[in-house]
């Protein structure tokens, strides 16, 4: 058993446990805390795959920005006053179980029959280097120049849209 495998198992367990913690805690702030732990474990897993940019973005954007927004919303809504969903609507529970089973069947099929790792590992060296920030920068200049600028426009639209919605809801 090598070190990488041990780290992978630790991170995967952290991710899974924090995900379960997130959906089972009744207090939404503690759920948010578990979600942050989950993002951390995910960032670690990305780093194991040498996807440095994605890993850092996971922490800076998801854990550092989106979760702050979530927390603000949760705190603004005053926690602990919302009705218990499952105790009021029983049939949602069965619906959730069906969806969970479907997702697991799909995952099991992909892992055991399709074996995606066979396709990925063909060009190991290339895929190892693809995740560094320098590589992504070069791709932005050459192949993905238009999508890069389009992302700028998308964010502009997001800015305007978000502010319009925020104003509409609270005034």
């Amino acid at each position: 058993m090598n070190l990488e495998l041990i780290i992978f198992i630790v991170l995967a367990l952290t991710g899974a446990i924090s995900a379960v913690g997130m959906i089972t805690r009744p207090n939404p702030v503690i759920s948010a805390l578990f979600l942050i732990f989950n993002f951390f474990a995910l960032a670690g897993l990305y780093l194991l795959l040498n996807a440095q940019f994605i890993s850092i973005v996971q922490i800076i954007v998801y854990a550092g920005a989106i979760m702050v927004l979530f927390l603000f919303v949760i705190m603004l809504l005053r926690t602990g006053e919302e009705p218990k969903l499952f105790s009021e609507k029983k049939h949602i529970k069965y619906f959730a179980i069906v969806i969970a089973v479907l997702v697991f069947v799909q995952l099991g099929y992909l892992i055991f029959y399709e074996a995606p790792s066979e396709y990925i590992s063909q060009r190991v060296q290339q895929s190892m280097e693809a995740g560094t920030i320098e590589n992504i920068g070069q791709q932005l200049y050459t192949t993905y120049m238009i999508p890069f600028e389009a992302a700028g426009f998308l964010l502009l639209a997001a800015t305007i849209g978000a502010l319009v919605l925020a104003k509409k809801n609270f005034e």
């Binding site: 920005a65 320098e134 200049y141 964010l155 800015t159």
Partner: protein, 144 residues
């Protein structure tokens, strides 16, 4: 092989261990003499009124929203900045167009007043009115 990220991991583990040990040692040696008053919430000596989780200004939410969008733009700019020197004038143009779009978003927010922190307009007590009122009822001596 211990990579540089591995060293960071070792550092993080040791730092966490240090914090845990410090808190544990403190637990061993500190006194514990709880009384009811010690566990009350501080509110300037009064008994706490109402829920501690008060409603706060909605502006905080809007700030977080704007921050989220600009944070994504920062992250997108980093790969551009790193490889900028290899591409000359072409790279300059790519970046400037992106920054212009970003500036447009900022200008929109500025124009719409979303960068403004609206503060409640202060209402100082109208001294003249108070004096007027008090004069009608009881004569008050106001020192010059």
């Amino acid at each position: 092989m211990l990579t540089e990220f591995g060293k960071v991991l070792v550092f993080i583990i040791l730092a966490a261990a240090f914090v845990v040990i410090a808190l544990f040692v403190a637990r061993l040696i500190r006194p514990a003499r709880p009384t009811k008053e010690k566990f009350t919430i501080y509110e300037c000596g009064e008994n706490p009124e109402g829920t501690p989780w008060v409603k706060f200004n909605i502006r905080f939410y809007v700030v977080a929203l704007i921050f989220l969008i600009f944070d994504v733009e920062i992250v997108l700019l980093f790969p551009w900045a790193l490889t900028y020197q290899d591409y000359g004038i072409y790279g300059f143009l790519v970046g400037i167009i992106f920054l212009l779009i970003l500036g447009l978003g900022m200008a929109y927010e500025w124009r719409k007043g979303d960068l403004e922190w609206e503060k409640p307009s202060p209402k100082p007590p109208n001294l003249a009115k108070i004096l007027e009122k008090s004069k009608r009822n009881i004569p008050v001596e106001v020192p010059d």
